[in-house]
């Protein structure tokens, strides 16, 4: 990243849980889990990873940025699809090793690269034995083949 990070180093902070110091913990790969939830409904839309650069870019621009592990690069959510996530609020958890962003989905409101509002469009169902996946009924809001070139082509997490 260029410039100073807008957050602190974790060294020397005794109480991560009650402090006002923002000292996010990145894992051995330099990444922190990030959950995006709809600011109005609370619905969980997607899960991805941020590195320090993506977190700093999210905070400075107010638009969700992630780190694409599959492409090993900064990923401005919606840069191909137009399905940008505008950030209403950024939160962290008790030990500051997870980020939660509350967002307002722009464009057609499809956070998932399959064209659906949420990536969590299938429920695990069944009793014992092999469980199955059942659609929750969320229909695609766009045709991923049109937007990303091919099915799955837009997947970056």
């Amino acid at each position: 990243m260029t410039g100073a990070a807008p957050f602190a180093s974790r060294s020397g902070i005794a109480d991560m849980e009650e402090t006002a110091v923002f000292a996010p913990k990145f894992d051995a790969d330099g990444l922190i889990p990030a959950i995006a939830a709809d600011a109005a409904s609370g619905q969980v839309l997607m899960f991805a990873w941020m590195d320090a650069q993506a977190l700093a870019a999210t905070l400075s621009t107010g638009m969700a940025h992630f780190y694409s592990r599959s492409r090993a690069t900064l990923w401005r959510k919606g840069e191909t699809s137009g399905q940008v996530l505008k950030v209403a609020r950024v939160l962290t958890d008790c030990d500051q090793d997870v980020i939660l962003i509350e967002v307002v989905a722009q464009g057609l409101g499809a956070a998932c690269h399959t064209g659906r509002r949420s990536c969590f469009y299938r429920e695990v169902t069944g009793q014992g034995g092999q469980m199955r996946l059942n659609p929750t009924g969320e229909a695609p809001l766009f045709d991923p083949g049109q937007v990303h070139g091919k099915p799955g082509g837009g997947h970056r997490a």
Copy 2:
């Protein structure tokens, strides 16, 4: 784990996104990220990890189980605090490498080991420079010192 897993192996499944086969992807450490959200309000309550055993236990018992990385053991959520998470629905995401459980919090309804409803009780605020954490106003529902012996003593993620 003892017995057959209630989910499939990922090998040979061409289309992870539209299949009805539940073939969750565990990472190199055998873990999958798991988000717990309130079944009624949608509020994200906590984030932790599941191994195959924790996922199978969650599915078979209807109570949230995680893998405690700090204790390297199966963790039945609420086993010490009584703050059990009853599972209403289990979902997975497009590429089946994240689990979302929609839960009804039992006991006092405090999913966080600090005694709060949610682990996400601080907002990242500020403009440029060093960002700070601001309480969202969620008050502890129990005294963690009483329940876990010492502050932070109940943290297992």
